[in-house]
Structure formats: structure tokens, C-alpha cells
Amino acid sequence: MNSLHVATSVADAIAALADRGDGGAPLAGATWIMRAPIRKEQHPRSYVALAKIDELQRVELLHDYLSIGACVTHARLAAALAPLPEFRALAVAAGSSANPAIRQMATIGGNLCAAGFAAADLVPALICLDAQIELAMPGESTRVSVEAFLTMRTDLPHGCLVRRVMVPRTTYRSDHVRLTLRKGGDYPVVIVSLAAELGSTGVVKSARVAIGSVETTARRWEKFERLLIGHPLDPADVTEKATLCADELHGREGVEAPGWYRIKVLPSLVGRAVRNIRGQC
């Protein structure tokens, strides 16, 4: 019989995970983990459920940043961000991923930890907004960037869990665009999250661009970002620049789309993101 420990506090969860060692894993919204048998993956001997920990359910707008507990669902996040245009990319990602029932269940922490899920919407949105992740573990907590977390998430020490995500408050404008094969209720084959700080003349002072679902893991696209600096955000110009930079990408093969297709359509999505951001000005 699988065992499920329903933790009542972060300290309880950390202790339970540390105690279980290799045989334990955290469980948040469960939408990815419950499909493990379909992927022919084994469950660990025991899960530690985080869903009943109050602290992990909080969304708090603080002076310098937005704090999002690891078990906040996509639906709750979308509702909390609706009146906050400064986090537009994240709001769109949370409000459009998967389908309404999944958005009621799937959490931000789960989205970040599901290493095999290339089409996670929140991950590129958080990268473009320069979010940090707070990890809690026995006796300490630490903060890492989302990009750093993605490189370590399959190898976290025993007793370590995502406590919250911190998104800095900035004057950047941002957007999140995704291409699905069906109009809705589908996982995207390409995701672009783009945030830019514009000067008074409309030229880009700084930019952060992240792409998801194109490669096996979401990533920041720094080569392309550099080409944006000092230029106005012009959809045709950025589409051309994205085409030039796309040769460094390794498109992910999948039943829903081949790798070359993802790379081919990516520049058009970048252009669409820029058009949306211009519409916010």
C-alpha cells in the first residue's frame, strides 16, 4: 500500500521528507504525479502531501515582490493577479494553461518541480519576470533563481521543498503567448514569455525572454534578448531577429509536434508577444 502523509506545517513536511529519504517525495496538486503510471513511472514508497499547509496557500503582494506559496493553484493565482498588470505574463500563463478543472488543482510548486513536463506554462513566465524560489530544508532556507532551480530540481536534498516563489515588482511590461494545436484545453507546443523595460522614447532598456515547450526544459533566451536592447519593440524586426537566433535551439520531438516545427513557429509567437506588449503602452 502506498503511504500518504498529510503534512500540517512546513516543518512537519520537511521532517517527514527527511525521514523518508529516497523513498519519499512531496505531493502538491497531484495532477502530474497521478499520471505516473501512464508514463510507466513508479511511485515512491511514500508521498508527503503539502496541500493542507496554510502557509503554502498564500498569495501576498509585498512592497518589493509578490510572494506565492508553493501550493497556490493556477486558478487562484490567475484570480489574484487579475487586478495586477505588472505581472501580466504570469497572469496569462496561470489563466490559460491546460483546462479549467486542471487549473483548479495544479499548483505553482508542482509546475516548477515536474521535470518531465516541458510544456509547463508558469515556468517561462516566472523566468521572464526574474522570479526567485525559496527552498525550505532542515535547519535552513535558501533562495535560487528559477533557471538555477531547473538545473537542480531532480537532485534536491532529502527534506527539501519549494516553500514559495517570489516575483519582483518592476516597471517591465510583459506578456505570455502560447501556441496550442486545439484552440483551448491543450498543452502548448511553443510558449514565449517576454518582459521588457522601455525608455521614454520607446526603445528597449532591458529585456528578459523565456521560451517553453520548444526544448525539453524551459530556458531564458539571452542571445535574442541582447538584440532587443537599444531598439524599439517592432514586431517585424523582432520576428526577424528571433529567426536569426533560432539556430541555437534544439527543438523537442513529440507526438504532437516535431522539433523543427516548434522552432519554425517560434519567431511568429515572439512577434505576437511584442504586439501585445505594444498594445499595453
Binding site: L4, V6, M34, I102, M105
Partner: protein, 152 residues
């Protein structure tokens, strides 16, 4: 360890493994067979039930996480054998074909129309993106829901 659940306002006890999908407990242990098992992947919505008032796919919810929650299935929609207004609208619009998707359609749309009683056709369609009808009878389903939304 027995798991104590509240299903359709009745106390129930499950003895299944806490990782068992809720839909299997509802159907196999409690014989509430309204929620259907189709994809088990969260894509089709046939297994939709309400957990604390929110529509969720019960194929992806471990029963151990449903303890202390209020669960409602499609069996709770009618009262004393009288169909709910949406069930009646589905019947009036001759929307039912094989019926496999209907429990999920009803749970999703009943909750949606509670929140958005004046929804447009487009909004109704958007609310249904997680509910797949293999008989592809979408237009009449949307007609039925829209008849309530536009009824005043």
C-alpha cells in the same frame, strides 16, 4: 487507515489506498457511477465532480487529498427525482447522444453558470474546453446552456 469523506452531504468511509483516484472510490466503493472514467489524464472531463464547490477531475485527485472536503457528484444535482434546470435544458434541447460526457458537462456547466449566469456563447465554449464529447454534440450542449444564460 480508513478515510472519512463527505459525499453528496453523506458521511462515507473508504478503505482504499490514499493514492487511489477519487473516481475509482466513488464508482467502485460507493457505487456512484455518474462520474465516468475515460482518459484518466485530465483531458476529457468525464470524471468531473465538485470538491469544496470547485469542479475538478476526479481521475487525478488522490482520495487521500479529498478527506475533510465536501464532494458532490452528478447524482446530487436532481432533488427528489426532479431534474436540475440544466439537466432539463439538456433534455429539452435533445443534447444527449451516448451520454458518456454528460455527467462532466453538467458538473462543469452548473458550476460555471452559477458564477456567470449571463454568460455568452463564447464564454460557455471557453468554460467547456476541458470537457470532450466524443459524439461531438457540442452545439446543442452550448445551446442548452445558453438558453439558461439568456433566459433573463
Amino acid at each position: 487507515m480508513p478515510l472519512h469523506l463527505t459525499v453528496n452531504d453523506e458521511d462515507r468511509v473508504s478503505v482504499r489506498d490514499p493514492l487511489t483516484p477519487l473516481v475509482d472510490v466513488l464508482r467502485d466503493e460507493f457505487f456512484l457511477t455518474g462520474a465516468k472514467i475515460v482518459c484518466r489524464e485530465g483531458f476529457c472531463g468525464a470524471c468531473t465532480v465538485w470538491v469544496d464547490g470547485r469542479p475538478v477531475v476526479s481521475c487525478l485527485l488522490p482520495v487521500g487529498l479529498a478527506v475533510d472536503c465536501k464532494i458532490h457528484t452528478v447524482e446530487s444535482l436532481s432533488t427528489n427525482g426532479d431534474l436540475s434546470v440544466l439537466q432539463k435544458a439538456f433534455e429539452d434541447h435533445d443534447a444527449v447522444q451516448c451520454g458518456m460526457c454528460f455527467p462532466g458537462m453538467l458538473m462543469t456547466l452548473t458550476s460555471f453558470l452559477d458564477r456567470e449566469p449571463r454568460a455568452t456563447r463564447e464564454e460557455i465554449k471557453a468554460a467547456l474546453v476541458g470537457n470532450v464529447c466524443r459524439c461531438t454534440g457540442y452545439e446543442r450542449i452550448v445551446d442548452a446552456a445558453f438558453s439558461l444564460a439568456s433566459a433573463g
